[in-house]
Symmetry: C3
């Protein structure tokens, strides 16, 4: 079996990214039942060591549309602290015939702590503040559906860039795909490493420059505890209000990885605005994850000749 | 796609109710595998914001017998308080391709707080003290299987009528179907609004009049905290003992929506008595929910010409 | 429908055990999709009143490979205390069309408290310290794959024998299958009743005699609270270190029911050693449980003529 893990955007060849997006686009136009045979008999285990509704459901629906079995796995948060126990879990599930583990985990170094090789495929559904590759693919598919290509697009990523795995995975790929990522938001959320690749631009200037405005989710706890800001202040200073939409170029769109804090990052009215692609992102979540599941199991599309054969553990 | 939400009994046409019961009766006599193709490729999400074993399992089994995918959804009780977040959840699941959300929720006004329209279908699996339409359909199917018709039956609903969504949904339909609902039980559980439609009758008189005795579940907390009754007292005064069964008409039956508090509402021996239809109610739960799932997705039976096209949100 | 419950090893005929192992061996060499039709339309409910990852996942994967529906059941630990409520749950699930309940429960007498008969089949996935029959079958399949037969094998079971349902189920069958079980470990974990059948042998002598060394899982709480031992001491005195492997016969193998406490029962290096069959046990878990599910539903193999028709409740 070909295929490989999908852990970071960096390890995916650019050609592979393009083909994943094309395949996802095919799925977007397919009947519900058309691809049930593709991964029939394969087994997916969702290993969510952080809470998730939308990513988990999205992967589960994707898996079933490809005919996979999805087993119930209750990630006991108390047993997460050691990488060792995760490794035992993965080996056990692999021995039982689980082909794909979809893993969400709070630690940045979770993949580096896995000591050996797995036959089973891993798909990263978000780890720490580091990577969320399938969300980035979802965002790019959504941009492509609007603009036809990512080449030359200015993508303004706004908000808590420092703690955002969505931002990091997006920026890692956008540059390679010929887009121009920029970042904005409060000083406390700036990140020097990110800004080596994606320059910081003051908020309203970023809105004027952008073809895509990607608003990040703010964690209320951070606002309240560390910053002692009122939430209303945040919307006022760095939120996307209906008023600020007027600054955007005529064809510019608004995105958000969800779930939205209404009235904090986004005004209520912006969510349902014509420019908003938030609902389309959710729908694309299923199609992209179908393409990724197919890919990690070595099915459904030719692999790029000079692509790495996926990622190999250990990652250290 | 035709079909509509099923939120209250009031919004279902009488002809639709009759056809749902007929269809459920067909399912009751079918093979396990006979209807796997009917809703294949459709996706059901169980959204249970109150604990439930029997209703949840019953819907899940019904969905699978029709070939639906059932996804796992962990309702985080802490995020329920605002209708807003439920609305976001529903919109998100809809965008992912979930067709039917089966919702149990503690609030009476939960549907009224939903601000807009959904393509996805909602099935009310119990909300607050207000409505539990599928349980009422289950009860009516069970009555019909015994008596052939509901027309002219006296149905005595006994116990905590005031807090019972089962009582309210039953009474709403029984009157329209030509039955005579009456209520009984302790004064503290009486409800003036209910008694406009279903007159109050002293307990033993109600038992003598009834064709169907429907005992409601008592919440122990209410007994102990508010009433300072002993549970034995309750059985003695308002429970259905083997002795009291002798008051019933020769063909009268006993029902209970479950789970039973043995020795509180019902004597141990009454549960397994020939007159008891409790187990049959559980079995009918699956068949009725199959009919309802098919109905909301606009399949499997002709809709009544002058029936409303299901319920439409917002309900205010 | 033939078939019966699988609650203890004692109630399985020796010929039935042999045929279950043969059938499991067939499943071990089958394609993932080959047996999807066998139990199609049947419904399995996992009732886990104690936490479990590997046994639960193993049963779920087995059920799906046979085409069963697996429903989600959240065992509310708070409602377990009375056998009565479990009985209500089982009757309710049976009435809904659940065919097989896979039950893990903390009480030794859980099956004895069930007051009546069930059409539905029960499979014991571990109860109290008493029985874990499918794990024993897994262990025997693993031994057979190495040695061809169990006849004449010396099987050393080492560790907390007193509290081990795995030990009890193994010993019950090994004697009947012609093997020689012996036990070893600290004095505080010895059990007089077990030693009537499986003699106690000092640890290093047991290692020298054994064809199979089965190390039991130690519950850390017991070590720390009751024994006031350091964990390092345990490995030093009764753990299987790489050094001690040298005492074993040339063909002897090492087993463990999992999950392993690394560095307590087993040295890290022993887990991955050539002699270790731990991963093979996990894989066999799925195949054995497929055979058991098929068996309880009366499918897939001829029953032994003079075999009891499974176990019958009540067991008192």
């Amino acid at each position: 079996m070909e295929g490989g893990h999908v852990i970071t955007i960096d390890a995916l060849g650019t050609g592979t990214i393009e083909r994943l997006l094309e395949r996802a686009e095919q799925f977007a136009h397919s009947d519900r039942d058309e691809f049930r045979h593709v991964l029939r008999g394969n087994v997916m285990a969702p290993l969510f060591y952080e809470p998730s509704t939308r990513t988990r459901c999205s992967f589960e629906i994707a898996a079933r549309r490809l005919g996979m079995d999805v087993i119930y796995f209750d990630a006991d948060v108390s047993s997460v602290t050691k990488g060792e126990s995760l490794w035992d879990t993965l080996q056990t599930l692999e021995a039982m015939g689980v082909n794909v583990a979809v893993l969400r985990h709070p630690r940045n170094d979770v993949y580096a702590t896995l000591p050996g090789k797995l036959e089973m495929r891993l798909v990263n559904a978000g780890n720490g503040t580091l990577a969320h590759p399938t969300q980035a693919l979802v965002d790019w598919l959504t941009m492509r559906q609007t603009f036809g290509t990512l080449y030359g697009l200015t993508v303004a990523i706004v908000g808590d860039v420092r703690h955002s795995r969505v931002a990091r995975s997006n920026i890692a790929g956008l540059v390679r795909l010929g887009a121009n990522p920029i970042v904005s938001g409060p000083d406390v959320f700036r990140d020097a490493e990110v800004e080596c690749v994606a320059p910081y631009v003051p908020f309203e200037e970023a809105l004027r420059d952008a073809d895509v405005v990607m608003m990040l989710r703010i964690q209320r706890e951070r606002l309240e505890e560390n910053l002692a800001w009122e939430m209303d202040d945040y919307l006022h200073q760095y939120g996307l209000t209906e008023k600020r939409l007027e600054l955007l170029k005529s064809r510019a769109i608004v995105m958000h990885p969800g779930p939205v804090n209404r009235g904090i990052e986004l005004d209520e009215a912006v969510i349902e605005h014509d420019r908003s692609r938030i609902r389309q992102q959710v729908a694309n979540g299923v199609y992209v994850r179908m393409a990724v599941l197919e890919y990690v199991l070595g099915r459904g599309m030719d692999r790029e000749a000079h692509d790495q054969a996926g990622e190999v553990l250990p990652l250290r």
